[in-house]
Amino acid sequence: MGKTLFEKLWASHIVVEKHEGPSLIYVDRHLVHEVTSPQAFEGLRINNRKVRRPDLTIATMDHNVPTNDRSLPILDQTSAIQIQTLEKNCKDFGIKLFDTNSPNQGIVHVIGPQLGITLPGSTIVCGDSHTSTHGAFGALAFGIGTSDVEHVLASQTLWLEKPKSFEIRVEGKRKNPHAVTAKDIVLSIIKNIGTGGGTGTVIEYCGEGITDLSMEQRMTICNMSIEAGARAGLVAPDEKTFDYLRDREYTPKNYESLVDFWRDELKTDSDAKFEKQFILHVDDIVPQVSWGTNPGMTCDVTDSIPSPDEFSKGDLNQKKSVQKALDYMDLKPGTPIVDIKIDRVFIGSCTNARLEDLIEASKVIKGQKVSSTVQAMVVPGSQMVKKQAEEMGLDKIFINANFDWRESGCSMCLGMNPDILSPGERCASTSNRNFEGRQGTGGRTHLVSPVMAAAAAIKGHFVDVRELDLN
């Protein structure tokens, strides 16, 4: 029987396999950031261990960095210490660091692909659950905890139970690809399979609805695999993948010979069997808006807030959690999504802060102003995205519309830095999690695509972005 892409990636990285239990898997790329690494480096020091492969390890600071003027000192002392700790650890252990002064600094899952560090056929880990993003390139990429960060630093390997293969086939063609985006596809998937629907699996996304997407859109899909509970998400690499990575700063010298190998090898065999399957038809999907406190609590922009009974379909636990979510979000069943007024707009995060996201959002706001009741910001995914956007004049479009135009970082996706919501504030956000308090204690997050966020910024409430002229 044939093998799935995931099974091939798994098999080609086994260092030790036992009769039962976990296998020792080799890690080709280890991405490190300031928040989940200090305790790992401390563990190495205590045990007098070194980093086995500094040449496979790359660090940046993204989660906890301010997004205002980089020349100013970091006022929060605990944050400043965490950032200095990463600098010291990278220096002591010989690891390449893109710090806040580097033109390569940015959200770790934006810079990996952009610099050609992410490669098809590789295994990539990082102490961050959104590492699944890199799966868009046909890499087996997943988030790990800090103990595993230490384990990888010391051994370049991890003990892992083999996950199951899950095929998500995305069929059909979107009617309006500028308005109905990759974000809407992935939110639709999570809405259908639930936040635990992918637990214990690696998802392979396939079908016309996926191959039609650009690399940046595929990253948006793979990024949110973890929101469905999956260990990782994958897309088989094709010419778009190989073109994207060609001639990047860290693209390997023998790239073309690697491409020849990947082209033959990195695909699911026609007779391979998946252990789980889900099919989404995208012909009729519409822009999505989350209304609750997990990404599965999402509906069409044309819908109204569901009642707990309607949403939970008889599941009492679910009903209780929907009621709690509606209370937290201060929403009433039956309210049309387009009647929900917002206070803030955040365009950013490893899900949706790449150049294409900013280009698409800028088309919505060009020549318009942010509603007087809304405060809006754009946080480019990396300094390189920021520079490219500025070369195209996108910064002017956003600034003229009264958006804040910031330096790169994770920013209000998780609100570790000063970019947070105040209690009760409601935000249209292009990020990945609408958990309680995620963007600030008491803050209320609605997950949407960049074009939906931009349209909401202008109107002051959600609108169906299909009604606007985006061409």
């Binding site: 239990g21 020792l24 401390e42 965490q82 659950s129 230490e150 636990n317 998780l414 958990f435 308090g437």
Partner: protein
């Protein structure tokens, strides 16, 4: 890591599904560079109001549950962020066993690195356990939970069981395979970054 001993205590019921690690430890506490002392931040936003006063309705603020080492929660516990701080907080607070119908993958794996035993059980059994007020005994060796009226068997991967029982240092175990790692590196096709 200390080896896992049999635990006997009353349970703390946290009857909610999809509890994410952002709730277990909110982000403002991820700025610390050490592993210790996270217990006071456990479920911070559910436990304390804006003025840092305990919210009387939250289960951890109920004096009945002081000294409990066993948390019994709803489906998909520990979803979301990979932050191991969530496990450090549960452990520092005093929980050594977490029982739920299912766990998120990264959280589940993080538990074993910190001496916490996550047990998945059938939804009905979890719901019954949530109602139990007498102490229960969790024995990893025999993979059983003893309640005042029942004995429940639970499954666990044999490798993970051994890690907890022996309190093994994962890394020193792995480094015994150094030759195999070196062999792998010699045949790997993926080049260095730099």
């Amino acid at each position: 890591m200390e080896s896992f001993k049999t635990v006997k205590s009353i349970i703390t019921p946290l009857d909610e599904v999809n509890i994410d690690t952002d709730q277990i430890v909110p982000k403002q506490f991820l700025k610390l560079v050490q592993k210790s002392g996270f217990g006071k931040f456990l479920f911070y936003n559910w436990r304390f109001d804006e003025k840092e006063n305990p919210k009387p309705d939250f289960v951890l603020n109920n004096s009945k549950y002081v000294g409990s080492h066993i948390l019994v929660a709803g489906d998909n516990f520990g979803c979301g962020s990979s932050r191991e701080h969530a496990v450090w907080a549960l452990q520092d607070y005093g929980f050594t066993v977490i029982i739920a119908p299912s766990f998120a993958d990264i959280f589940f794996s993080n538990c074993f690195k910190n001496g916490i035993l996550p047990i998945s059980l059938d939804q009905k059994i979890v719901e019954n356990l949530q109602q139990t007020t007498d102490p229960i005994e969790v024995n990893l060796e025999t993979q059983t939970i003893k309640t005042s009226s029942d004995e429940i068997f639970f499954k666990i991967d044999s490798h993970m069981k051994k890690i907890l029982l022996d309190g093994l240092d994962d890394i020193s175990q792995t480094l015994q395979f150094e030759d195999k790692i070196t062999d792998f590196e010699k045949r790997s096709k993926i080049p260095s970054v730099l």
